[in-house]
Symmetry: C2
Subunit: 125 residues, 2 copies
């Protein structure tokens, strides 16, 4: 495989790049994860999201335990080459390990004191 | 100001957190940037996005030079507290320093060889 496109990516000092994951259709931002060059290549070859787990320090095929795979619909690189945007079909509509649709289910309530993170409820979560 | 909500954030070893920026309405992912606790506080107090520029190592009030300010509509924290999602009204509909609407205007063409990053054109960019 021609890999010039891979060399255009600005990996961080750990050899990783942050990956924003957006659901096709709803356009909801589901999560953020990280990839190294191996897992990015594998993601593209397989057509499903495979990340690098920084906490477990290992390859992580998203959905391997939950069944909530992410089928890749598009891969985008930002202007300075140091962030990826992955557009996916989210199997089961659940991206978060908590069972939530999106990992971003805590909204900052800052219109009255005390400020705090408030969980979204119902369909928004 | 009560700041317990600030203590719930998992800052990285540089005291920063990645911030995904999404446009209200279109739900387009516009860019990714970074904040420290000072710029996050200032963002919330001002109601406009203020980041920490890692390359320039300084506070960066988005739009201060271009006029393309980002008016904050919502702030969300992810499940493990280490990534923020900022929903904004993008003044001028231009978020990228290149003049593009979104920084993610390079799409990976991987259906035929050679693979490569292809710039989106027209309204998609």
């Amino acid at each position: 495989m021609e890999k010039n496109w891979l060399a255009q990516i600005q990996w961080n000092t750990d050899g990783l790049i942050p990956v924003i994951v957006q659901e096709q259709g709803s356009k909801d931002v589901l999560m953020m994860a990280w990839m190294n060059s191996d897992t990015l290549l594998e993601t593209i070859e397989l057509g499903q999201a495979i990340y690098w787990s920084r906490s477990r320090k290992k390859r992580w095929h998203k959905g391997e335990e939950s069944g909530h795979f992410q089928n890749v619909q598009g891969v985008y690189l930002d202007c300075d080459g140091d962030t990826l945007l992955l557009v996916v079909e989210q199997v089961g509509a659940i991206a978060c390990h908590t069972g939530a649709h999106s990992c971003f289910f805590q909204e900052l309530e800052s219109t009255s004191l005390p400020f705090g993170w408030k969980e979204l409820s119902g369909v928004r979560k």
